[in-house]
Amino acid sequence: MLNFDLPKLPLGDAIEWFVRWLVANLSVIFDGIRDGLNFITGLLRDGMLAIEPVILILIFGLIIWLLTSKLTALLGIVGLGLIWNVDLWPQLISTLVLVVVAVTIALIIGIPIGVLMTRSSKLEAAMRPMLDFMQTMPPFVYLIPAVMLFGIGIVPGLFATIIFAIPPPVRLTYLGITQVPEDMKEMAVAFGANDRQVLRKIELPLSLPSIMAGVNQCIMLGISMVVIAAMIGAGGLGGEVMRSVNRLDLALGFESGLAIVIMAIILDRVSRNIGSGKEPPLSRIIQYIKKRRLQKKEQQASSA
């Protein structure tokens, strides 16, 4: 055996030192974030739990119908009813809130980063390896600094979920915008548009299908993180899965696992349909209203 007797690089120690430094010196910020997120998620969860489950299921059904189709809505109602029936309703709401809040934050951060990457090749070059890192690092690893920064509970779960789910919206926003045909952008500039107008009126609308694919992926990754986040006390359906594993409770494991699947499918169908060019009832209703308004205007114009 060769033995170069090289000293081990203190790579891990450096990271640990850094996170400890953050905890020691910036705990005010992290505490503030934790309290804020705790408040928001608590409010959302309590609010939804205050509504009678049957009514909430019907409201969800209506939303699903507006964004997809009658069949999907019907199946969604059946699925949600099943979850309610097996007494996993509070856990479902808790997980849903976690996913929705995490995904919302991931999108608020991720989409602008994707846009900025198209404006600066330096940022793009810097982000690329970071995104690779975030996507390939085993998600369990995020739990450690999350706990150190935010303690146990739903907020570290949110933090880990956000980090894990952010790369797809960043990448797909970047991809979508770079694929907008050059002559469309040139046209806008030729008509006097500034960079903001090019972004708002050309790049974002034309890359919407790609951005929405990023949103969809973000949601899917968020859901897949739910169980892992439960390891640090995020609770919800993931908590039930963890409990069933610890107790070797197959019945509970199957029920809570199935509940996650149902939620995932519903969120996937809903988010996939937005911006895909399909015309769900909502856009048909909007178009109908627009048409009516136009007709009214023309009637007024002709009568006047």
Partner: protein, 401 residues
Amino acid sequence: MTVKIEARNLVKIYGDNTGKALELFNQGYTRSEIQKETGLTLGVAGANFEVEEGEIFVLIGLSGSGKSTLLRLINALIMPTSGSLLVEGQAIEKMTEKELRRLRGERISMVFQHFAILPNRTIIDNVSFGMEIRGVVKEERQKRAEKALETVGLGEWRNAMPNQLSGGMKQRVGLARALVMDADILLMDEPFGALDALIRAEMQEELINLQREIKKTVVFVTHDLDEALRLGDKIAIMRDGAIEQIGTADEILAEPANEYVENFLTGIDVSKILDASSVSKWPRELVRETESVSVALHRMKKADSDYLFVLGPRRKLVGYITRDDILPLSKKREKSFTDVIRKADTIPADTIMRDIYPALRQADRALAVVDEKERFLGIITHNTLVDTLDERKGGDGIAEL
């Protein structure tokens, strides 16, 4: 007439660190030499021109000749490396970003080769795009866009989506979008290049009619000489970034500035469309192999010609006879002229224009056009050639071909 657009020694070199390339250009290096030395591309090589108010100024050249670059320098989509470009007396290279946006939004509109119609907007919203950027209120946008759509004959389609429209219709939308801005200057980048020939001719016609009413200053890029000759009040022929010649259609056709222009005029346009069979004419008189000397003489007199082409069975070309050759036979009272038939200069029916000239120069008399079975189709003389070209151009500027 006031000058709307003026270019002075305009140079565009693509890439960063253009200093060295510019120096080489000023020392007289060619485009390919500069490319080799510095790796940079010379887009426009010292262009000088003036566009007057209300005229259609056509930039024509092969692809890569810099015509699109030159067009984009006018509304500063591309910034010049050196030289100056004045729009209504103001130098674009000295304008701030804000002034440039106003220039593009208010004084110059553009029509694009591939239409650049936004697929996610209705037709009327596409036409409104420029006004939206400029901040025109919605009611006025709608009103003006509707009027512009009427002008281009698409009033019915205002609420349609672009994918419901054909190419020609899309370009009408592009034209309406540019016209609605009420800018004095219209830049058109091969606007009809992506349309098929029939639609293209129709659109050209409409543009001419429209121009009579609106009297815009138009800079029109094309690679189609026919289009340039038809539309252009002034034509600039470009090559490797430089303007080879500027003039009216007649001036350019009558006096090509150099060999390149000459080849461009003959080689590209006419030769592609016209072949020997389409420019050939049926001669006034012909004679059959079996007919007599006196008949031949009679026909020569009738046609006021000193030679006749001789045909055999099934219109097969045998050759030609001259008056000088058959007059002695007539005196000797011989009937047949078959012994004095000369071999005719022939040319295949599908010979392109460019190759007809040299053949014609070498021919003793007229060129006989024959098909693949040596059947006689007609003749080409210097005169028929000029006549044909004249008909096509509808002008009289081609006296010297």
